[in-house]
């Protein structure tokens, strides 16, 4: 594959190189779209068609039955109330987790960048290093602590876990953003007699909208897509959608209803996909900002 395309400014004429560029991009695009295409067409086919048919083909007898079944009556282990249960669980987990972790990140970032508290940088350093350590290192003791305090297997428990493990990224995100704000602003507010909280609420927070958006995108997709924490801490009553999806797909007895599986998969992918398409560039910015932590 020689890449001797004409670069840059004058792409008007169609040369072999240009065709090569588009051919490569189009082929790659097909590869990336393939699984999504297969999921969609499979979810719209009846089982007989799936058993006999071509996995890529459009459904001959299109039906939304699988979607309805996936949403309201597919079996996730012993119960058969569909993935809607998981959807609402995920929503209930998501909202407080995102709000709390953004508040925590904003307050931490603000305190770290404008107020010189003794030992704060050491704390921040450990927090950042902790972000790289695999979750498996913390999980068992954390389960013990939560059982001892009686919050294990509850909504509160899973929300706390998301806030705890979101702390490094959120703190870093806000700290870096606030480090970019002019210090004079803060000094002026100090001279005017502003205290810790009044400066935060009146000066800093009103300037934080862009970074709050980035933080929200990062946390919404991250928490919605979480599997391991939901599995470990949420308890049977609060299992998030990812865990329920896995239960639907992996615990079926007898022949698997692939169309229902795919419909459930599409439903579980819907929220992050919508966030991605709506937020566009902000999404990339959020990921890149989170990248420093990883």
């Amino acid at each position: 594959m020689s890449a001797a395309e004409p670069q840059g400014r004058r792409p008007r004429r169609l040369t072999i190189g240009r065709i090569g560029v588009y051919a490569f991009l189009a082929t790659s695009a097909l590869f990336f779209l393939l699984p999504l295409w297969i999921m969609i067409v499979t979810s719209l086919k009846p089982m007989e068609e799936i058993r006999l048919g071509n996995i890529l083909a459009l459904p001959a007898a299109m039906t939304f039955d699988a979607w309805i079944k996936a949403w309201s009556s597919a079996c996730t282990g012993l119960e058969c109330n569909g993935i809607s249960v998981g959807f609402w669980n995920s929503v209930r987990i998501l909202i407080p987790s995102v709000i709390l972790s953004i508040i925590a990140g904003a307050v931490n970032g603000y305190a770290l960048s404008f107020w010189r508290v003794k030992g704060a940088n050491v704390m921040f350093g450990i927090l950042l290093l902790g972000a790289f350590i695999p979750y498996q290192v913390f999980l068992y003791p954390l389960v013990r602590i939560f059982s001892m305090t009686g919050v294990y297997n509850s909504l509160l428990c899973i929300v706390l876990v998301h806030v705890i493990f979101g702390l490094p990224t959120m703190t870093l995100l806000f700290r870096n953003y606030y480090a970019g704000l002019p210090l004079e602003l803060f000094k002026a507010a100090r001279i005017d007699g502003g205290g810790f909280w009044s400066i935060f609420f009146r000066v800093i927070l009103p300037m934080s909208t862009p970074i709050i958006v980035v933080a929200a995108i990062l946390q919404v997709t991250g928490i919605w897509n979480d599997f391991i924490f939901g599995l470990t801490f949420a308890g049977r009553q609060n299992l998030p959608m990812t865990v329920q999806l896995n239960n639907i797909v992996n615990s079926t007895q007898g022949e698997r209803a692939y169309n229902v599986d795919m419909a459930a998969t599409m439903l579980a992918a819907l929220v992050p996909l919508v966030v991605y398409f709506v937020s566009g560039r902000w999404f990339v910015r959020g990921i890149a900002a989170g990248a420093v932590k990883g």
Binding site: A3, Q7, L34, I133, L245, Y276, A288
Partner: protein, 290 residues
Amino acid sequence: MRTRLPAAIALLPTALIVLVVYIGCMLWTVRLSFTSSTLLPKLDWFGVTQYTRLFANDRFVTSAENIFIFGVLFISGCLIIGFLLAVFIDQNVRGEGIFRTIFLYPFSMSFVVTGVAWQWFLNPGLGLQKLVRDMGFETFTFDWIVNQRMAIYTIVIAGLWHGSGLTMAILLAGLRGVDKDLWKAAKIDGIPTWRVYTSVVLPLLRPMVVTAVVLLATGVVKLYDLVVAMTLGGPGIATEVPAKFVMDHLFERNNIGLGTAAATIMLITVVIVLAPWVYVRYVRPQGSHA
């Protein structure tokens, strides 16, 4: 000093979490790995017995080999595919936004969704293999997902599908930051485009490459959901990974001693891998920096 008190109080909850969770739980896990704990945690002293058991355990050895295979192929694959996609998108193409969107959308989806989708596509009875056979190639075989020796590579394929777009996005941002004059100079000198990319642009992109590698590497360590959704560690133990080994032993097989020992090995590995990065990024620049 008194004016800083509210700031200190505001940081207190985080300080407590750092102390109890990030430091406390880590030490607790390491301590448990030196005990004979099974169903319930004990605090006896068992020496390194759990570690000798661990390395004699087929499942763990396979896990370690798998994460190595996955890590190398996933990171290098994402970098190569991501770089190619970024370079091709950077050729002033029409519909750039559409291509970018298509390459990156898998990254927004969960590993469970990714795993289920690929499990379905690679299903030998109904997926890709059947598709090609139906087209007339009746001896075509692509049964990697149920093949002991090849199954781990199907996890790599799904991983690449999920992660290459991210690398592309990071590198594309880097390409856009390259000085336009550099291109003009190269054109005047008659240097072929591909040479400029490999010899001039790629070295300039080093910070972006490092960012991508760090991000991808943390994904490698976390590898768990994808395996659970795609193969459940099978066929047999062919796609077991360390994170899954720890989870299974802590929460299903009631072998806390062995599980925490495996977690401690993960911890040590990450620290060893992290050390050079911390050194390059935070220690060395204080000296002379090339």
